[in-house]
């Protein structure tokens, strides 16, 4: 069996007296879409930051695409990418300029062709030469997604990919991600507060609270286990420490 796309063991992050992530252990199989769910402050973004190598864990290890992130980060970064509404692209630069810069950073050789394909696929043509700072939230999300796909990553980490988007744009982004995941057999790990999105996209869910994984399983397994009708109700049970997760 192939090694998982992500493997995490005993992952811990402390900020002085606060333990943001506390001994996480999980794996994400290649070609799957997995969600990290949890309320605000559950440790999702900190976990993503450690998976990307932006934060050094206080304890524990992370392996991404078979490489240890503490020692071999440089080998993995060209094969993965990331998008978050909390991280921006330079506002004064246009979409095309930003994509060109990131194309150089990822060492893309057929740059013009690749940018043209992204502009076409993500429907960016109408505003590709406008400064990113002047775009709407939906347009910025598509530009950020284009940046995240510039190197055709095998592993995509997404922090709230459809936050602040209207339902139509959110649905469009989800469809695009589904298509990309199928076409590339990519692995996607996403942190989200949108339960509908998670039910639609994800085959597996990791439920976090106070820096720990308190439950895991497919959306249907979790719904059945908690005796609920929707994943949102399961989320509320866990966030309010009711039912199985409190035991």
């Amino acid at each position: 069996m192939a090694s998982p796309a992500i493997e995490v063991d005993g992952l811990t992050k402390r900020f002085e007296k606060v333990t943001a992530v506390d001994g996480l252990a999980f794996s994400v199989q290649i070609g799957t879409t997995v969600a990290l769910l949890g309320g605000n402050g559950a440790g999702k973004t900190t976990t993503l930051a450690m998976l990307l190598g932006l934060l050094e864990p206080t304890a524990g290890e992370v392996w991404v695409l078979g490489h240890n992130m503490r020692r071999e980060r440089a080998h993995v970064l060209p094969r993965m990418n990331f998008s978050s509404p909390y991280v921006d692209l330079p506002h004064r630069l246009s979409t095309r300029q930003n994509l060109k810069i990131y194309g150089h950073l990822y060492g893309i050789r057929n740059m013009d062709e690749r940018i043209a394909a992204l502009v076409h696929d993500l429907d960016l043509a109408a505003f590709a030469d406008r400064p990113v700072g002047s775009l709407s939230a939906g347009q910025k999300t598509r530009v950020a997604l284009a940046k995240a796909l510039i190197n055709e990553p095998e592993l995509l980490l997404l922090d709230e990919p459809t936050a602040s988007l209207d339902p139509d744009t959110g649905d469009w982004v989800r469809s695009y991600l589904e298509t990309y995941q199928r076409r590339m057999r990519a692995t996607i790990l996403l942190a989200s507060h949108n339960m509908g999105e998670v039910e639609r996209l994800c085959s597996h869910v990791l439920m976090m609270r106070q820096g720990r994984i308190v439950d895991r399983g497919s959306p249907q397994e979790l719904i059945g286990r908690y005796g609920r009708d929707t994943l949102e109700q399961v989320f509320l049970d866990i966030a309010r420490q009711q039912g199985l997760a409190a035991e």
Partner: protein, 203 residues
């Protein structure tokens, strides 16, 4: 489109990635005439003020007359250190202000490549900033820094390296202490002024 995207080796320094950092700031400068004007404005003003000061002393003291150009040279050379340092820290702050640092550091970009990119930008910013002041001093005060001759080259190099050293240290402080430490970007270099003997000789 698939399989046409090829990545270069992540091992070793990449001129492409260094160039990407330079390109990012080139686009920024190209699209903002106010930034270019601001770069050149302060060195030119400094030079003009110290030029008038020198002329005043020349007309009132025969001793200072022998030192024509000393103050102007001091101002221009000090500005090289200052602009070299700002070239690093302001370019770094531009990334922080645009909340782009995380995006940069999840790419294969290495810290060394990022620093080298900032150094190239620092040279460009210093030339844009100090260049007009250097050229203006010639018609305004009949003073040319180029009269220093070949020693100007190592002198310029040392001043740039000093500015980069301070700039990188300031970037470290900003990363460690956050936005509250931004004022270090402008203040730190002046801590070196009293011991640098810019306007007076150190014993």
């Amino acid at each position: 489109m698939t399989a046409t995207v090829r990545q270069k080796s992540p091992v070793g320094l990449s001129f492409g990635r260094i160039g990407a950092i330079v390109l990012r700031h080139y686009y920024l400068l190209k699209g903002s005439w106010t930034r270019i004007l601001e770069l050149a404005y302060w060195p030119a003003m400094q030079m003009i003020i110290w030029g008038f000061t020198t002329q005043f002393f020349i007309s009132h003291s025969s001793w200072v007359a022998r030192a024509t150009g000393v103050l102007l040279a001091a101002v221009l050379l000090w500005d090289i250190v200052f602009r070299a340092q700002l070239g690093i820290t302001v370019s770094f702050l531009e990334e922080q202000w645009s909340r782009n640092l995380a995006n940069l550091f999840v790419t294969p970009l290495k810290a060394t490549e990022f620093a080298l990119g900032l150094m190239v930008m620092s040279i460009i910013r210093t030339v844009i900033g100090v260049g007009p002041a250097v050229l203006l001093a010639i018609p305004l005060y009949h003073f040319s820094i180029f009269e220093l001759g070949l020693p100007l080259i190592p002198f310029f190099t040392c001043l740039m390296i000093m500015g980069w050293g301070i700039g990188l240290a300031v970037c470290g402080l900003i990363m460690r202490f956050g936005a509250g430490a931004e004022s270090f970007a402008w203040a730190t270099v002046f801590g070196f002024a009293p011991i640098s003997g810019i306007y007076y000789g150190n014993p």
